[in-house]
Amino acid sequence: MSELVNLTIDGTPVSVPKGTMLIEAAKQAGVLVPHYCYHPSLPSPAVCRMCLVDVEKAPKLAPACVTAVAEGQVVHTQSENAKKAREGVLEFLLINHPLDCPICDQAGECELQDYVFQEGRSSTRYEEYAKRYNPVEDFGKDVLYVANRCILCTRCVRFMDDVAEEPVLCVAERGDRAFIGIDPAHKLTHEWSGNVVDLCPVGSLVSKDFLHKARAWDLDKAPSVCTGCSQGCNVTVETRDDAVVRLKPRPNLEVNRHFICDTGRADYRWMNRGDRVEAPLVREGGKLAATDWLKGLDALAGLVKQAAGNVVVLASGKASVESLALVKKLAGGKLFVQAPVSKDAERPLAGVPNLALRQERAPNGTGAEWLGYSKDWNAGLAAAKGAGLALVVGAELSDAEWAGLKGAKAVAVLAAVDAGFDDLAQVVLPVTTVVEELGAYVNRDGRIQRFWPAKAAPGMARPAWWVAGEAASLASGGSAPQTADEAFRVAAALAPQLSAVQYGELGFTGRAAAGAGVA
């Protein structure tokens, strides 16, 4: 444990490690010092001058983001001097800032709005006619630069310089003519460049994909885990009217700090598919017909019993550890998980250790392996051809792969979307996706991370662990889990790495499993 320093911030005594900056120490005292240029994952340039605070015995106001704590320091964030200085900064920032909040995507989650509302002037003293004007510029990929809204905090420049280490942005010009410039030969092509949109405290860097799609206050948000690869970046799934409209990085200092890659960010449209299976389907008279859960579960349990152990499970890499565990309990047999490996090289984020868009494009490959699933997908497809029962759990199969399953004596599918099983499956049961259920994934480093539902499940869809659990109960007796927590305990009983973990301890950022090698 490093040496602790004691100081007082707004009357609250705090003890923080030596070297901590005041702005972070203040958070421990429950005080958020307003700031723009400071960001915990970027170097601090102390240029916005918004975080000025009063330190007793100091000759002038100190920028909290670059002032280290000192023993016995007494800090006032709300002194008249500090408040006037910050009010002054806000006024200066606003004189050239357009009042286009009604059409600005950032409105509602804008730090300029927030702080002006909190401690800005109620009206302007700027009576000059002209504001600075620069045209909107396409920075490439998903990013638009609305120069007029820019407050020159330089977070984007520092992200590209120091984190992405692809310095294509800069501050161009001087004085109040300054704006963010971009190397015309490069644009923002870096795999992680989309993060500049999140880093921008105002609506200056906006996402083309999200442009004018929703107002920030209309969004519902749920913590989740990106399903794009085995890295397991923490994300927030944001929905409007029950449709996912964007994914944002969710801070997790152990995994992805404050960032996600552009591939993961863009990977949400499948969550809104309209061609969902909404009711249990059982084959009657040669056709799949909608039925109720009892009949559907009965049919699945019957198929499993008939197959008498000769079951091949083909599970999606996006299936939770809970679902994989209950499917294992239901079917036994040979277990395979779909964890495709991309031919593209890993795309690391240079400034953050152990963070990259990984080649294995499945979020739960490690969890599946712990539960006895094999990643040898081709072997799984081959085995399924001679199986007594091929049980497909959420996996996305090509037409040829579906056709290959004709060799199996029976096919049962736990499906979210309507796929090529119409002529094939005896039973199709509707299941939820990652954004409609509680569950957990295990990333490549053995970190167990939970996700929460962001939108309602369509029709009668239920989590795959519930479906498999109920079917197992019908097939071989015993009780079925009724909550994700209970389902996780089933998984913990099957995989020793999970056994020491309690759901409630995982929190929002997860933790490394016992004995898991964390790089």
């Binding site: 340039p45 102390a46 240029v47 916005c48 001058r49 918004m50 000025l52 002038k60 106001l61 920028p63 670059v66 006037k84 200085a85 002054g88 900064v89 006024e91 200066f92 920032l93 004189i95 050239n96 003293r125 700027y126 000059e128 407050i151 020159l152 800069c170 501050v171 010009e173 001087r174 004085g175 109040d176 003519r177 300054a178």
Partner: protein, 433 residues
Amino acid sequence: MGFPHPSHPKETVVLSKYFGDAGARTHQGWVERGGYQALKKALGMTPDQIIEEVKASGLRGRGGAGFPTGLKWSFMPKGDGKPHFLVCNADESEPGTFKDREIMRWTPHALIEGCAVGAYAIGAERAYIYIRGEFTEPWAIMEKAVAEAYAAGTLGANAMGSGKRIDVVLHRGAGAYICGEETALMNSIEGKRGNPRIKPPFPAQAGLFALPTTINNVETLAAVPHILNRGAEWYKGLCLSSPKSTGTKLFSVCGHVQRPGNYEITMGTPMMTLIDEMCGGMKPGRTLKAVIPGGSSVPIMNAAEAKECLLDYEGVVAKGSMLGSAGMIVMDDSTDMVRMIMRLAKFYAHESCAQCTQCREGTAWTVKILERILAGEGEAKDLDLLMDLADNMTGKTICVLSDSCAAPVVSGIQKFRGEFEAYLSRRRAPAVA
């Protein structure tokens, strides 16, 4: 002064002795005039001895801040095993200042000698001289002089046969005022945008290329050889008023005087001796109205303050301003103070590096208000607004450019409020900005 006019008898000619003497520009000529003796002497001393001598002389930084030079040198870490750098600030971009230009034009070897002594004293093998981009003639002269010094063995791996390496590297600016700020200058040498850095760390800990660095003004370094040659006591004795201000100082006088130019005077000389006697007084029929004593960044003095002012660090502070770079702008009664202040503010608005919010936005806003007042569209509340903006711009930013913009506005409104009010009340006809 020496050039273009001969020196005035009341000047104390030390640094400017060879101004106007083209023969002093060459290595040979400089040696004939006693040059490089101080370097020879210095190389036979220990660095600590040199630092003590400079400390004893009372020499203070001539760039503006007036920090004791020997003390600054003593801040350099000793025995840290890292390369050290000396940086000479020859960016001289402060409006009204043109003394370093003349030192480089006429006595380039004086600067090279000072740099070599300074580098040796702080344990550096390399000195960078950062020359203002617009200084084309001084640049050419300095380039030639450095080449000569290398050819003569004065610089290089075996400087003056001492076995010690002293390199002098010239670096040319690109015309940004802010690059005269010491940390921005270092960024500029490193090839980065010339933005001032946050302090701490101070240059002595992490300066150029993040290594221990001392940065001195041209005039400061050029004075060092004289101190070594003639002794600290002699230098300390050059003092007419406050014992904290010693030696001679070059004043660049411009504006409405009969003979503008550089004048080298002993610290503590009355301002009016400089203006009335050396510079020949105001233009015929005109009276003194205001003086900016130390480059455009310092508060303006009115005539009454100027008349009682003694020219040294303490004397100017006592009259509410600062000695700064000693770029003296003298204004007579024909000066429109509002317009003059607007022009100064416009300079700062143009040169703001755009890092800090107060400076980037505040300087430009100040100009807009002043232009509006000049155009006859000002309102009574504008003066309070200007004063409040100046307060919000002072002491809150990384460097002092923002403060420098605010200083003339505040002192101008305080001391020449009537002129502002004449525009506000429409008594004075609108001026074209």
